[in-house]
Amino acid sequence: MKVNGVAHPAPNDPRRLLSDHLRHDLGLTGTHVGCEHGVCGCCTVLFDGAPVRSCLMLAVQAEGHEVTTVEGLAADGAPLHPVQQAFHECHALQCGFCTPGFVMSVVGLLKENSNPSEQEINEGISGNLCRCTGYASIRRAVERAASLSPSGAGRAQGALSNKRVGERGKDRS
């Protein structure tokens, strides 16, 4: 498998989870483990470019595929990726444990939708748990990241308005 562009062999033990393989076999500890039931999102990585839960994959399943972890977004010493930069500017992290998972999810979100609306942002980050920030700063960071990314340049920087939350836009016909 390729991880951040570098080829690595898959582990021998088929029950080794991808999250543990990345963290403990490859030393890429930026991907974190919060639950191992696929709910919290701390373990999110890109798998062939799309965000997935690495705790819900067996490492052997990644053979022949490309995995990107948070360490792969910016080389050592190189400037932060726009999503990372936006999180920093918006104080969108406190303890930092959920952060790599959020960053990878947001990278994926903005790849599919470079100009998400408030509701799309809210729903787009709704698969990741954060216990520290209360999400407000993360929402601001996604807006900021969208404006920092080349395809999102020129996007109006609006403050998130006081909307009725709890409506989830689910009931479509």
Binding site: L93, G96, R131, G134
Partner: protein, 783 residues
Amino acid sequence: MTTRWFGARVQRVEDDRLLRGHGRFTDDIDEGALESVLVRSPYAHARIRSIDVSAARAMPGVVAVYTAADLPFGQTDLPILIPHPNLTRGRTQRCLASEVVRYVGEAVAFIVAESRSLAEDAAEAVEVDYEPLPVVITPESAARAEHLVHDDVPGNVAAEMTQEVGSVQTALAAAPRRKRLRLRFERGAASPMEGRAVWARWSTSERKLTVYDSTQSPTSIRGGLAVLFGLPESSVEVIAPDVGGGFGPKIMLFYPDELLVPYAAMQLGRPVKWTEDRQEHFTAVNQERGQVHEVEVGYDDEGRVLALSVDFIHDAGAYTPYGIILPIITAAQVPGPYRVPNYRVRFRDVYTNATPTSPYRGAGRPHACFVMERTLDTIASDLGLDRAEVRRRNLIQPDEFPYEVGVAWQDGNRVVYDSGDYPKLLDMALERLGPRPAGDHIGMGVGIYVEGTGVGPYEGAHVQVLVSGKVVAATGIPSQGQAHATVWAQVVADQLGVDVADVEITGGDTRRFPWGVGTFASRGAVTAGNAMSVAAGMVAEKARRIAADHLEADPADLELAGGQVRVKGSPNRGIPLAAVAVLANPVRYAFGGGTEAATQFASRPRPGPPLAEGEQPGLEATGYYSPPGSTWASGCHAAYVHVDPKTFRLEVLKYVVIHDCGRVINPMVVEGQIEGGVAQGIGGAFYERLAYDEEGQLRNASFMEFLMPYATEIPPIEIGHIETPSPLNPLGVKGAGEAGVIPVGAVLASAIEEALGVSITEMPLSPLRLFELAAHRAITPHP
């Protein structure tokens, strides 16, 4: 001292490495460590007839299996962290149970293996013969005491405490009006995103035990390990590396693993690590919030409270390692920002067959706030008065400080509010909240709270200017996301006239600073912040003295600014701070870096020994701050909510916080703390609960069923500040860490009550609960 950093929204120095994935959380550390697992009781109450680990010992990859019989400290009760004279029947568990287990999750065996997978396989092979015993789960049933959690604790009562201010009996009888309320809180959990973890190594050659621990108090762990293992403290180092959230339960002395992992490392000659998984976190990590209150209030026709009697039961869980701090805090904080001339509070701390309780963000204050706020709403409803107006009539006024409440506080002192402006909080919150939105089933809620912060005994800091001109500083307390490294850097940079980027802060590492208490109870900024200021001030004073000698000026005429020590008004007459650091250490051998200037043959402006009596080499100092008492933060939250009358779904339409934590070092950080706190408050009010059944089994021990809110469940929050500086500490700061969570339940209860027209007397709520309340239009009694 220039204050260009204090009060500034400085972006965090911690972010870069955390964002790049270069954080160092305890489980990130391997270094060849063996992995481990704890075998835990599946029963809430059972006698252990036998434990057979022979099959487990024989399984592949297993290096060692320990039960209580294998441990020299196996029969030692773990300490009570905070003893108290009223805790007459405190009980703690042992590292590993061998006779009785009293909660699901209590540890029974410890397995060390080559990997966690293999350890978990072996755990399944451990055979424990349990004889189930009757289970006591709710605080009410504990108080009825048909069954005992501890055979030698009659009535399941660990502690009882009654306090009275004034004369409640008389005042109640004389009051024109009276009401009774019964309020109930279920347990909640802090649930930080990083679970607990411990890594330990014993070096025989250095006779040193090194422990990494996702803890909020490394200094306490270090002290405890030294005592327990009979080692000098200098042989034990405990480091809290990056910690992924604490919120209270990561302070303990000890969780069993904090002893077992170092012990195994010492025994096995290899590093050992233990990382809990989320499922075990639910029953293994301390919880909080179970209380039942019987309230009686007497008031007049204007809605002024004349007398308040509160009698509550606090759910201690199976053991009382944290003493009775939680119910003491609740008892102390019920009056809140209001004048209660006659107040009587009694609590009983009762044992249940559930996970032990210890503080979780808010630590008893959310209950206290709920009690008072619901009481005031009841008064308002009875008199047909506006709820905000009733509060106004009862608030302590700004000219009444210091205000003595008359009850005991958690530091052993009495509760005395030092400063605040409660009416202003209320007025600002209501103004910011604005007019009620149009529509049906909309309700408003408001809640005002005070928060005792900055409790002692002390914290300390060491600050040093290096010969490079960079500054390094250390304190004993660790961070779990509160931006200590940025905030203390601001304090130090102001004192030393340097850039924040040139100050490097280390916390929670006993190798760097061995003295301290811990990060909890919204005390970091007050204690460590002031200690940093003291130590940096001492460094600045020494820098002025040394520079004065060389500049032939009076130290009083010198200032530290721009990385220099210079004459005020003559910025060209100065000497770089870096050079002062060199000069502060008289050397014999010049080894570069300007040290030529510090040798004995350099010009010596003053006769006498190179290092004057009482002087120490280096531009460094260690300082401490010990608060005389808690300093009282406060705030007001107000909200509009909508409850769907068909689905009972809650929508928060607007949420406003006006907050007072004294002088603010970094407003961005404080706002982040508030936003996070409110989210935990909303989670605890409407989504999260710990669903124990009658057998003491936790039915929702997973993130699928323990419903922590996602972004879609948390509204945007508007925050305003006022600052009533604390007169108790030089920086004038008050704590801010828990403020966000304290009144949320009260605010939402009040708003939902109005929106739906049902009476709310419990926490948490849910659509199901609202459906039931709406259907019955009455309180469904709990067991």
